[in-house]
Symmetry: C2
Subunit: 534 residues, 2 copies
């Protein structure tokens, strides 16, 4: 199954004028995202995306729209997500696209859609945008998972439209985008009903869908539009006040200004370098360093995931003026809507790093600028190599006290020092006094490896070679278990638990083998299973 066509080249940078599948309309406090997938407008134009089924190109537009709602439409307090089709809300991820994709692409596709759904929930929780899924027709698989990411789900009651997760009975795989977790852990559907629902290919409709807690309401066709409009107004009115500042137009990424991604495909290694800000001034537009830098970093991570599958190790470097970077970090803590949105965006980007299935080694040397917001990159890495020399410093700022939480809800310092929260406090206290030199940083527990000029390059070289020799699967499994130490959240359950089960099932012959259910979908023969239970 690993000989199939490679993933298509994708554009991760888009804007509403380029959308092929979505329209974003704003009317006062209410936004409206309408999905109408162009059947031959996906990333692979030879694959038909029927019934509002989606591929990655569709989800990239959705992710972009959510970002723009936050920055470009600060007045929006509720966003309706609906479909322009008459009897179909969304049929989920396109099955033929999935069945013909490589395993790495499938996994990365699911990860990306998970991040987009979690970004919807982040916008609801932190930015006062309530989401209303207006399911105006059949809502299946990833379509229902999109609805589950919303605050409310209203399903049309037309005698036929259902919500459904048909993946298990029909395709022999798990729903790919957090569906199982959200059914029992977010909507808290009774687990036996969740079982019955998820084993029922045709789904559940009408009153039963409400009784089981799968949707919040069902509404007849004649009243659907009015009800949605009214509930949207109500949701907007009840949304927590979270000022989002002035309108900030998000410019195209095109060329990186603050991020450099250098690839060495032969050694399967990348160097990811982030340059600190040139000054610590507040600028209320998309050129503001923490916003632009994070957007570039985000873009670079997506390229890495989808275009450089063989790269297993990322050396994370920083450069620039540590004092300015530190000042920028303190500036970022300002208590206003614009700054909060910039912080939230940065936090989401670093969380994208947390679930990037590549080994991450931070290198802290004389050129480094692990200072202010960039200090978080050190903490996000699997290891840090710290040069024992004069002039080597790190300088955490107040941001590291919890303003940029990881998926587990803790600050990265708290996660690092789970055994003794005092140690996180000691790092923050030391940084209040000024930059922390190499020896002090090591004593504070910030170095995995601390070596002087004589040994440093050799230690790093050996570590890089060792890493490159280890099974990439085992590394992914190990890293995902270590990166999510501490408390569990909906997100860690999705990325830590659910994704692992998906990965396993995706690669089982029962799903993707010659006679597996995913392979056989749409063919006249039935799938054949090895029924041994594991």
């Amino acid at each position: 199954m690993d000989t199939r066509a490679p993933a298509p080249k994708l554009q991760f940078d888009t804007d509403p004028t380029k959308y092929r599948h979505w329209t974003l309309a704003v009317d006062g406090e209410v936004g409206r995202l309408t999905m109408k997938v162009q059947p031959f407008g996906g990333a692979n134009s030879e694959l038909e995306l029927k019934s509002n089924s989606y591929d990655l190109s569709v989800d990239i537009e959705l992710a972009d729209a959510i970002q723009r709602l936050r920055f470009e439409h600060p007045g929006v307090k509720c966003c309706v997500i609906t479909s322009a089709h008459d009897k179909i809300f969304c049929a989920g991820a396109n099955i033929y696209m999935l069945a013909s994709s490589t395993h790495p692409f499938k996994v990365n596709f699911c990860k990306y859609t998970n991040e987009t759904r979690l970004a919807i929930e982040d916008a609801s929780q932190n930015s006062g945008i309530r989401f209303l899924a207006a399911c105006n027709g059949a809502t299946a698989g990833g379509g229902y998972e999109l609805a589950l990411a919303c605050d409310e789900i209203v399903l049309i009651d037309d005698g036929s439209s259902t919500v459904a997760l048909p993946e298990v009975p029909l395709l022999g795989v798990l729903p790919g985008t957090g569906g199982l977790t959200r059914v029992v852990d977010k909507r808290k559907v009774r687990r036996d009903l969740a079982d019955a629902f998820s084993a029922l290919a045709e789904g559940v409709k009408g009153k039963r869908a409400v009784e089981w807690g799968l949707v919040d309401a069902v509404v007849p066709r004649s009243k659907f539009a009015d009800t949605i409009a009214q509930r949207a107004r109500e949701l907007a009115a009840k949304a927590p006040r979270a000022e989002r500042g002035p309108v900030v137009k998000l410019d195209p990424i095109s060329e990186y200004r603050h991020v450099k991604l250098q690839l060495d495909e032969k050694s399967r290694r990348a160097e990811l370098t982030v340059r600190g800000p040139a000054d610590a001034k507040r600028v209320e537009d998309a050129s503001f360093w923490p916003l632009r830098m994070a957007r570039e970093l985000d873009h670079a991570l997506l390229r890495l995931r989808f275009e450089h599958e063989n790269v297993g190790l990322v050396i994370v470097r920083t450069e620039g003026d540590r004092k300015i970077a530190h000042q920028m970090g303190e500036l970022l803590l300002a208590d206003d809507g614009f700054m909060r949105e910039v912080r939230l965006n940065l936090a989401r980007t670093i969380r994208r790093l947390d679930v990037t299935a590549r080994s991450l080694f931070a290198v802290v040397d004389r050129d480094s600028c692990f200072s202010g917001p960039l200090f978080e990159l050190l903490l996000a890495c699997d290891r840090s190599y710290l040069l024992d020399a004069d002039g080597v410093e790190v300088w955490p700022g107040s941001l590291s006290a919890g303003a940029l939480p990881g998926w587990n809800g803790l600050s990265r310092l708290e996660t690092r020092f789970l055994a003794d929260p005092q140690r996180a406090q000691r790092v923050l206290a030391a940084a209040k006094e000024g930059p922390i030199d190499a020896t002090a940083a090591d004593k504070l527990g910030l170095a995995t490896v601390f070596a002087d000029d004589i040994d440093f390059e050799e230690e790093l070289r050996v570590a890089m070679e060792e890493r490159a020799s280890i099974s990439p699967d085992a590394l992914t499994g190990m890293e995902q278990n270590f990166r999510f130490a501490g408390p569990e959240t909906l997100a860690t359950k999705i990325f830590g638990r659910l994704s692992a089960w998906q990965n396993w099932i995706f690669i089982r012959p029962n799903a993707t083998g010659e006679r597996g259910a995913l392979t056989m979908y749409g063919k006249p023969e039935r799938p054949q299973f090895d029924f041994r239970r594991t």
Copy 2:
């Protein structure tokens, strides 16, 4: 990889007179479990178990010994776990055994060893038995994972003995028994050090092992025995007082008295019937119904897992006198050591059911006795089929208020009604008034499907056939996500998250393919990897 030899037939019932690999010695408050694996004494006598490496037969003895410490040695407050070899504590699971096993066996083997380690922790937390790992030599892989399950780890400081998790760098798989989770979540080792440790095949020794938090102390050979003896006495002295009642000899299981397991291999279905007690009298020996029944049920579940891999659906039935079963449940709540041990054992057994990768449908009809402790079986099932007829009743008791928690730490009623804890209370309140008839039980939310005589058998038949047609892998993934709704614990992290990553990695060509690391172990050629990261 699915054409290999089937799992050997195993005896799950043993006692110290039959042990081939362990000795259990008791001296006052201190017990001592000494491991000396018979190289050709495992389940497959043609496979050499070198270096105190283990197979399932070794772990069955360990599990038995832990049970006997609780019931037969109520005076023991600390148990030392050590090895009879001079330079080896334990090399972990035997790699050739793993490499030559089928995927279902590997998964079930890991699950069983996980349950045994969690039983050690349960004995520490609830029964006042502290465990001290006396690592008198090399402690690798599953050997270190066994140590991690103990309250304290002391490693010999002889210049060479290390603790190690060499699975990732050496075998391309994850440690199979909770190692990664316990390193960062139980011992709270810094995640970057955990990364360095787990990628280092040779492991960590001496002072560094203490500094990193991998062990609690290192002790030179000359002082090792004395130090262990002293620490064991101290641990015993500090152990929380938890009376365990009189000595209760655990008799052999041989024939079932209260449990019936009927297999229909053709339809890949089993009927598991548990008969309620004949009377509600306290008997302080192994014939006491809740103890004997749970031990039989435990035994039946292991047979199901290892001997009937194709059976995917278990119909769970009960029979007997509901009033007596209810009285027995109330009796079980008595606040003394014997009863507490019986309760804890029952809770462990039902948790074994929770992680048995088979679909579980409870059938509640006129003959049923889902009453007292047996009511928990209904809640443990994925679905319940309730007959709408006179004479059909369920009768939960006070035990269901939290005395038999699931892996997530909640009662099964709480997990069922996550959305509204009041509903759990309503069930308990109704049961205080007497048996709950079918209509009331349905209203209280205890039925997945509620059907009258005309439809009941047909509903059940269709559901069983549907279940039998679905991919067994997808069902396992779905069930494992729904059964662990709610809060996360070390155990849910291990069974929900870590196990899934293991399953995935075990089946990847990079581990078990022709040139995978596990397959190639011990051969002169190096493994070959597909380096695409997922």
